[in-house]
């Protein structure tokens, strides 16, 4: 550290990428969070497919191969459910960690735009989340294709469609958790609200036929609609809600925009 030699303000040069790296660092070094999320994604896939493979190995007459389309559906159903929980955990941490630790104030006094601080959380959190999901997907693909045995292995098109659908669902719950976490400033409240919504409220709403088209706004209905047909019977939750693909996409986009918009607004306006 040297003495001051100039008083003129230097031109501001503040690239965005280091902010994203800082978000990744914060999440990656949170061992409890990463281990839990890894257990729910990679760990769950290892356990599930190991059981399927062992069952088939020890009793092939009663248990089919561990691979194939059916077990792609079963695996993806599990990964979508637990992966979305992992996404909620990571999103809530990304949205609220700076606030609960008090570091948000330290970041604001750097003069950095609050909007930039918020925006960096999106790619930062997704980088951590997607790396876990990618590892889990590698397991799914390896087993369902490599151990299909006598049943049909999933096609490349089905695998691609499944992965895209899975990533959209995971990213959606991450974005909503990030926005809600930034809005509330509480990781625990965010997780509680979204888990209740995801696990309890969504299946109930989707099964109430009397709600009619109002169910279109429930994200679970949109994900049911967008799921690849070949694995639809495995991954669709609650009652079927007839809706167009466009309506499903609009519903998910609207939820995402509202959640992130509220999070950004609160980050920009809250007392730090």
């Amino acid at each position: 550290m040297t003495a001051l030699t100039a008083t003129a303000s230097p031109p501001l040069r503040r690239p965005f990428l280091p902010l994203v790296r800082a978000e990744v660092l914060k999440l990656r070094k949170n061992r409890g969070l990463v281990l839990t999320a890894a257990a729910m994604t990679v760990g769950a896939m290892i356990v599930a497919y190991t059981i399927l493979l062992l069952l088939h190995a020890f009793n092939p007459d009663h248990h089919g191969p561990g691979g194939g389309v059916a077990n792609l559906g079963n695996g993806v159903m599990l990964l979508a459910g637990l992966g979305s929980v992992a996404a909620i955990l990571i999103g809530a941490a990304a949205g609220a960690a700076d606030l609960t630790s008090g570091v948000f104030r330290e970041l604001v006094v750097t003069g950095r735009s609050r909007l930039a601080l918020f925006t960096a959380r999106i790619p930062g959190g997704l980088a951590v989340l997607v790396s876990l999901i990618a590892a889990a997907v590698v397991i799914v693909v390896t087993v369902t294709v490599g151990f299909a045995g006598s049943v049909a292995a999933p096609s490349a098109g089905l695998l691609a469609g499944t992965v895209v659908w899975l990533l959209v669902e995971i990213a959606f719950y991450f974005a909503v958790a990030l926005g809600l976490g930034s809005l509330l400033g509480s990781r625990a409240q965010t997780i509680a609200i979204l888990l209740a919504w995801r696990m309890a409220v969504t299946p109930i709403l989707l099964s109430i036929g009397a709600l009619g088209v109002a169910r279109d706004v429930v994200p679970g209905a949109a994900f049911n609609q967008l799921a690849p047909d070949a694995i639809g019977k495995y991954v669709r939750e609650g009652g079927a809600v007839p809706m167009s693909v466009v309506a499903a996409v609009v519903a998910l986009a609207a939820w995402t925009a509202v959640a992130l918009g509220l999070g950004a607004w609160r980050t920009a306006t809250r007392d730090a």
Binding site: A3, P18, R31
Partner: protein, 315 residues
């Protein structure tokens, strides 16, 4: 363009929470290149003023500038050369000291990242920089907080109650650090309710009470403004008291534990010195042996109490 002589200027700055006014019409000028104290009792609005300056909360009315730049309009530019600690410095406790600095450096810009090693070295945390902050003592977290604000290579440092919780050695170290930062040409503004520490550390200060700045100026000016007092110890204090009772410059004499505290009326420095000499001469001429004759240093604490007691009387 000549930089403003003041690094912080506020005009009519006011903050209200509902019907409660926490900061009221504050007019503050912090001179460049000084250590400036913002002194007041707990609840006087010190932290709220700092939070407004840093854009952590919005002002209800009034205007302010940092380093000559109006805030909040040019807050980003201004804060790029400002380092601040508001209340206790906060960190992600599960990250190491160095990682916490990396996070703030990422927000500040690439130059800040290059200053991490130097900042850690300067605050004496090199051996613990790779330990998790959760294992640090309060003093170490304070030092890491200083390292974090040095990442900005700041022209202005704003420290809110920086000596809270430090042990005497830590306070001494902190005082030395502040003086060394000022010697480098930086300005340090620190808020505190610890009068003694402020007096030892700063060149100038503002005294704040109930959200208002009641007086500001250099330490020398503020402590000189009170009436001069002589402390006299002699072989016969009662006769000395009688001799000085009729002196024109003396306004009161109080005997305390064998010492006469002789207070003069409000006079300028030259007249004050002449009165001291004349008092000494009269005692000697009266044949009273004088053991001690010493102008009392008007402490900031005495001055602070005078000001706040006047305010209470006026209320």
């Amino acid at each position: 363009m000549t930089p403003s002589p003041f690094v912080i200027e506020t005009a009519g700055l006011t903050k209200r929470f509902g019907g409660r006014t926490v900061v009221q019409d504050v007019e503050l000028q912090v001179p460049r290149g000084s250590a400036f104290g913002y002194l007041g009792p707990n609840g006087a609005g010190k932290t709220t003023l700092i939070r407004m300056l840093l854009g952590l909360t919005r002002a209800t009315s009034g205007s302010m500038s940092l380093l000559g730049l109006p805030v909040p309009q040019r807050r980003g530019e201004a804060l790029a050369r400002v380092g601040a600690i508001v209340e206790e410095p906060r960190f992600h406790r599960y990250l190491t000291g160095r990682e916490n600095l990396e996070i703030v450096a990422a927000a500040r810009g690439p130059e800040a990242a290059h200053r991490i090693d130097g900042a850690i070295e300067r605050v004496g945390l090199a051996r613990r920089a790779n330990d998790r902050v959760g294992t640090y003592s309060l003093g170490m977290r304070q030092r890491l907080g200083i390292a974090r604000l040095l990442l900005a290579d700041p022209e202005l440092l704003i420290l809110d109650e920086p000596m809270n919780g430090l042990d005497p050695a830590g306070i001494e170290e902190f005082r030395f650090l502040i003086r060394s930062l000022v010697a480098e040409g930086r300005t340090v503004m620190l808020s505190s309710h610890l009068l003694d520490e402020v007096e030892k550390t700063v060149d100038a200060l503002a005294i704040v009470d109930q959200g208002r700045v009641v007086v500001q100026g250099s330490i020398a000016d503020l402590t000189r403004n009170g009436p001069a007092t002589l402390m006299i110890a002699s072989a016969d204090n009662s006769r000395a008291r009688h001799v000085l009772g009729s002196h024109a410059a003396v306004s009161s004499i109080v005997s305390e534990e064998g010492i006469l505290r002789v207070q003069l009326g409000r006079v300028d420095e030259r007249v004050e010195h002449e009165a001291f000499a004349d008092i000494n001469r009269r005692l000697v001429e009266a044949g009273i042996p004088v053991y001690r004759l010493e102008p009392e240093h008007a402490s900031l604490e005495r001055r602070f109490l005078e000001i706040t007691s006047r305010l209470e009387e006026a209320a």
